[in-house]
């Protein structure tokens, strides 16, 4: 508690460059995994404003009950906030250990409320006005400025966030097909490229594939010993954890299925099962990363939040402010961080959504400065024109 109080007091101080350097001294092994929830998840169902009567008025069918002995009620985090009960067993223990924090009122100033436009503008991480460099995402720029960066996109395609000048390998882990090109064939194919400009990426591509297949082999071992095998995002997250433990320090993965316009449910139902799957996956990361968890930060964001009031279909529509998740062995968690306001009708953005009080470029910039000891000049490359806002999350 003492530590938390101290942190709360310093949380809004501007980050001094000196302290970032200190932080950086031992951060050669710093790792960042960025998780993007595509579709705009309903942040008010994750982080429940349990002290707001307006919340209960606004969501007669889909609100989560105030914390109580009932396991279907929200898990109490502090006087104002409760956690979706689907995360009671998976992530609440991390919160109690102080390794998980949430930042409400988080997001972008883009108000198009279009999935693709907002995702894209967030992934580009550039100022909203003026000329945009469409082919440049902020994780790519981070990989370009971090010394010793070893980025990896755990996706089929290189998403906008990882596009740019730094070379970023990619491999999707959701469903792994055993590669059809065998070892001998790989060697022969690589031999065709040895005198070409692609000699290195070809070797790298086969090496990544071999890494992945080694991990898969251990999964298959476990399966043959009748261990319960992970499914869905948990399986994917375990694979990511294994690979990031040894090989990669800047990772990206996206998770879809959050666009809950109709019948999203409450303590149970569609959204609850999505959160459950996500939570179990995230909770598996510390297990897989082992000692490396200490240096790892996992950030989870979405393009926007959803309407504060439920719609006519017991769902929610595209909104604005969201909630960011930050977890890791070095995270100063166990708290709800960042600038906040009371949740009531008067504080809603355009009388419909959570406002954005913690702008994503500022918050992520501050976080990355801590995590990787970025200089102001480096930060200006990652988020041009943004000022890092240090919430003391690391």
């Amino acid at each position: 508690m003492q530590r938390r109080h101290f942190l709360a007091a310093t949380a809004t101080l501007p980050l001094a460059w000196g302290s970032a350097q200190l932080q950086a001294a031992g951060s050669g092994s710093a790792r960042l995994l960025f998780v993007f929830l595509r579709g705009g998840y309903d942040a008010a169902s994750l982080l429940v404003p349990v002290s707001s009567s307006f919340y209960y008025e606004s969501r007669p069918d889909i609100a989560l009950a105030k914390p109580s002995a009932d396991l279907a009620s929200a898990v109490s985090l502090n006087a104002d906030w409760g956690l979706h009960p689907a995360l009671r067993e998976s992530l609440y223990p991390l919160y109690q250990r102080g390794e998980l924090a949430w930042v409400p009122f988080f997001g972008t100033d883009d108000v198009s409320r279009s999935h693709f436009e907002t995702q894209d503008s967030m992934e580009m991480g550039q100022a909203l006005d003026g000329h945009k460099d469409f082919g440049s995402g902020f994780l790519n720029r981070l990989a370009a400025v971090v010394a010793g960066a070893s980025p990896m996109a755990f996706t089929d395609q290189l998403s906008t966030i990882f596009q740019g000048s730094a070379r970023v390998p990619n491999t999707a882990l959701k469903s792994l097909n055993k590669p059809q090109v065998d070892g001998r064939q790989s060697d022969i194919i690589a031999s065709m490229y040895r005198n070409t400009a692609w000699a290195q990426p070809v070797r790298e591509g086969f090496a990544v594939r071999n890494d992945v297949m080694r991990e898969l082999a251990s999964e298959m071992d476990a399966a043959s010993r009748n261990a319960v095998s992970a499914k869905g995002f948990e399986l994917e997250a375990r694979r990511i954890g294994k690979l990031m433990k040894d090989n990669y320090n800047i990772g990206f993965v996206d998770v879809g299925g959050w666009d809950t316009h109709v019948g999203q449910g409450a303590a149970t139902g569609y959204l609850a099962s999505r959160l459950d799957e996500l939570g179990r996956g995230l909770a598996a990361l510390p297990q897989e990363l082992g000692a490396a968890w200490r240096d790892t930060t996992v950030v989870v964001v979405s393009e926007f939040g959803r309407t504060f009031r439920q719609n006519g279909n017991r769902g929610t529509d595209h909104g604005h402010g969201s909630v960011m998740w930050v977890m890791g062995g070095g995270v100063r968690g166990g708290r709800i961080a960042g600038e906040q306001v009371a949740v009531e009708k008067a504080t809603l953005f355009q009388d419909r959504d959570f406002p954005v009080l913690n702008e994503y470029r500022a918050v992520l910039g501050g976080l990355m400065q801590r995590q990787f000891g970025l200089s102001p000049a480096q930060l200006a490359v990652v988020f041009p024109g943004a000022k890092g806002k240090d919430l003391g999350l690391i």
């Binding site: 906008t160 990619n170 065709m192 005198n195 070409t196 990426p201 790298e204 591509g205 019948g263 279909n313």
Partner: protein, 526 residues
Amino acid sequence: MGTLKNTVARTAACRRCAAAAALLVLGACATTESPKPSAANANANANANANPYLLVNRLTWGASTSAVEQYKQQGWQNYLRTQLHPASSKLNTEVQAQIDGMTITKVPLVELVQKMEQMRRDADAQKDDEVKKTDQQAYQQELSRLQREASTRHLLRALYSPDQVKEQMTWFWLNHFNVHQGKSNLRAMLGDYEENAIRPHALGNFRKLLGAVATHPAMLRYLDNDQNAVGRINENFARELMELHTLGVDGGYSQRDVQELARVLTGNGVNLTATNAPQKKEHQGWYVRRGLFEFNPGKHDFGDKVLLGQPIKGRGMDALDDALDRLAAHPSTARFVSRKLAVFWLTDEPPPALVGHMAQTFMQSKGDIAATLQVLFNAPEFAGAAGKKFKDPMRYVVSAVRLAYDQKAVLNVGPMLYWLNRMGEPLYGRVTPDGYSMTAGAWDSSGQLATRFEIAKAIGSGSAGLFKPEGPQAQERAAFPQLSNALYFQHMAKTLAPDTARALDQATSPQEWSTFLLASPEMMVR
């Protein structure tokens, strides 16, 4: 990334030919490349004398036996003329039947979109949550099916149309005037956008192309001009129209020009209903309705504007024509478009002098796309640039299937769509208005290359699902890739580097040989 370091050294190729001749029964190995002449007419000869495989490989979606035959019969000048001014695309009857059977072929845009709108409204009106969810999913699935039809049609033409330059330019302009299938109901509009706005002008006049695109509902919705109204300006389309479609980002326009063009564009929108927007009396003469396109004078800013230093008179929808005329005729547009064409056809960094010649022709011909391309194809720089352009995923996939199966038409493009997805270049799948990158850096990452080798093995080893029609009762047709053929022995073999030839020699089966050939560095470039 640069070019192959071991690109086609003539002597090395010949040495290897000789060594491999006994095994591969190679034809004559005489070099067919002539010294580089300087005058334009002589350059035509440089192309005429080039290895037909390499030349056809660069002018088509990928060389095949029949494409090379077509070229040999016509000769360089005739071939080029037919490609730049195709009379009519004749597809074989089986392929044409596939296209004729599509909803996007049979149902005109207005009817199709209105039918989809009805489906959407009916789903939304359902009282029961479960029924509503099911109906909404059915609506989404139907939209996706329409998108898949458009993708299928595009791929079938890329594979089998004799008008290969036209098909490539259709892809090029679709990418230049990119729209994304994920936005609202665009999936129902893609087929028409490609067929009626882009394709008829792909080799025609740039100004006409620009006009067709700028008034197509797909573009107006994609870039939010259907939201652009007097007093509620949305600059999105105006900005991209100058930055991405015409002048280029450094083309000499200002933020002020963006605002003024946005004013010109006000009121040019989309009406998905059968009912015209009601008008005040004084506006009725200005109203324009063409299909789903609607110029709504009630939303238009009739004031005069200043665009690029010159006035645009407020005269309703005609002001848009004035603005497009000005943009299309601007020297920056000529340069921007010419350079992009050269990047697509030639190299990632095309020589500025050549781009200058193209731009001059573009200006003089008032935006004649075929004439501009003709300058490019006849230039000495073109004759000398074989093997210098890294293929994007679309070209890799299409060229591999063309090489393996030539005119034996696939019955299911599903595997190709899957491969394009895996490599991040699905048709109509680019979210941002800039379109897919046409340079190597976007497509030659380690994961990309590893995926290509898997695809090479899939295509090299058997029919890869390409000959298994969709549907429960569908019978898979026997098919096997034909890569070790006359085209290979006569023309392709001599273009391979020694490392590639050595790898092919290590193949222990025809399947493996085909896999190595499709995975070779020479297959990644054109």
